[in-house]
Amino acid sequence: MGMTIVEKILARASGQAAVKAGDVLEPKVDLAMSHENAALVVNQFLEIYKDTGREPRVWDPSRVAIIFDHRVPAESPKTATNQKKVREFVARHMISKFHDIRGDLGGICHQILPESGYVRPGAVVVGTDSHTTSHGALGAFAFGIGATEMASVWTLGFAVNIEVPATIKVVVSGTFPAMVGPKDLILHIIGKISSQGANYRVIEFHGDTIKRMSTSGRLVICNMSVEAGATSGIVPADEETVTYLREEAGVKDALDLVQPDGDAVYQQVIAIDVSALEPQIACPHTVDNVKPLAAVAGTRVNQVVIGSCTNGRLDDIAMAASLVRGKKVAQNTRMLVFPASGRIYQRALDAGYIGDLMRAGAVVMNPGCGPCLGVHEGALGDGEVALSTTNRNFKGRMGNPTGEVYLCSPAVAAASAVTGVITDPRRGA
C-alpha cells in the first residue's frame, strides 16, 4: 500500500519500513522551535528533571531553535524578564539557533526558520506555536505542540505517542486572476471545509497552481491550514523548493525531496479551480466565516494591518506599496505594516517599498508579531474594525473583545487603506 508524504516522513523518522494513518509512533525530531513561550518550556523541562538526580540536558542543542517574536521589543518588565531567563538558558545549554531581538537576524519564527535554512524537505519539525504548519511549504512534516510536550522533546529527542494523521489531498488548478492569490485560495478552502474540516488530519497540496506557486505563497497556504484544524499542511518539495533553499536560505547539503507514492491512500480528495476565484474575506469572529469580498465591500475600516507569518513577506509588501504609491491612507484609518523579518525589512527598504508606504501615511513597525495577537501594539478601540492580512479573527484577537477583525490578502488590505472601506483591489483604490 502506498504512503502519503507524511506517512513516508514518519516512517523514516521512526525507523520503520512502512506506516499508515492511525499507527502510533515516536518519530525523531529534526527541529524543535519555540518563541518567548520557551520561558514556560524551560520551567516544564526543569520539572521533568526534578528529583531524578540527573543534570538537565537538552538532547541536541543544535536542533533547538528559539526565536523572540511575539513581544519584541518587550512591552513589559515581565516579558523582558522572561526573555532574559530564556537568553540565560540558551547560553547555558549552547542552543545555536537563537534569534534575539535584532534588526538583521530577528523576525517572526515562521519566517526565520525557512530563510535561515533550518527546515529541510522530509524533516520532522515541531514548534510551540500552532502556525508551525507553515514549514510544510518546504516539504517537511511540521506541527504545533504545547510547552510541556516541547519540554518532553527537549528531554527525549522524539515526540511521544504520535498518531499518524490521515491525509486530505487538495488539488488546485488554474491561473489566479489579477489581484487574487494564495491568501484568497486558503481562505476559500477554509470556508469550504470549515474550521474543523481537517481536524487531526494533514492537507497535502497538489496541482499545477501549487507547482507554479512561489515558496512565499506556499508558506501562506500551509500557515493557514491549521485554521481548518489541520495538524499540518504540506507541499511536495520540488525545483522551486530547491531554488529557495539554495538561493534564499544558503543550504548546500543534499536534499531529499520526499514525494507521495502514486497509490497513496487519501481520506478525501478536493479539487479546486482558481481561474474565477474572487478576493475572499474571513469575517468576524471565525476564520471559516468566509465570503467573497463583494458581500462586505464598503464596510468602514479603522485599522488596516499588513504583516505576520502569513503575509509579511517581500511580495506582500511590494504589493501593498504598489497600491498606495503616490496615494494617501484615508482619514480616520490607520495603516500598520510589519515585515516578517529583518531581512525582508532591509530588502523592502532597498527596493523603496518602505518609503512608498510611509509617504502614503502607513506606519512601518519592526519585524515581529506586532498587532497580530493583540498583546503589544496596534490594539483596537472599543467596537473598532480591523482589516488584516494576519490569520486569526477570533473575538479579542487584536487586543479588544469588542473589536472586529476581517482577514484578507495584502492587495485587498492596501486598496482598502486608501479608501477607508473594504475595497476590491481590481477596481482600483
Partner: protein, 165 residues
Amino acid sequence: MAHVVYLVGDDISTDVIYPGRYMATVLPTETPQFAFVDDAAFNGKLKNKQVPPGSIIVAGQNFGCGSSREQAVSTLKGHELVIIARSVARIFMQNAVNLGLRLVVAPGITAAVGDELTIEDDRVVNTTSGAVFPIERLPRARQAIVDAGGLIAYTRKRLMGTPAA
C-alpha cells in the same frame, strides 16, 4: 456528579479562554486568574471561588481552537473545571492530556446551566433532563499519558529508562 456552571458555543478559541495579552504569565499558579477574563461575570465567579472544584463547562464543536498556548489549559485546570465538549481542537486536546485537565468528548452533549451531570465510563448522564450522551474514547496513545499522571511524569519515567505503562 457536578453542576454545569457555564455554557459556550462552537469554535471557542484559546484567545477567548486565555487572551494573548496575558501570555507573559506562564506559571500554572498564576494563570487561573485570567480564565475567560473577557467575560467579567464568569471570571469574577471563578476568582471569588463561587465555582466549586469539579464544576462543568459544556462546549460545542472545536473547543480550544487556535493558538497552542498551554495557559488556556492550565487556567481551567487551576480551577479544577471539567470540560465536556462536542469536539475539541487537536493541540488543546493534547495539552489537556499532557497537563491532566479533565476533558470529555461527548459529540451530542446538550445541557443547561445548573443541570446536574454524571460522567460515567462511556457516557454522560444529564440527571436533570434524563438524557444520555455517549463519550468518545481517548485514542490509545493519549490514554498512556493520562494513566501516567500527565506528560511530565510520563517523560520522567521514559528518561529514567523504565518502560512506559
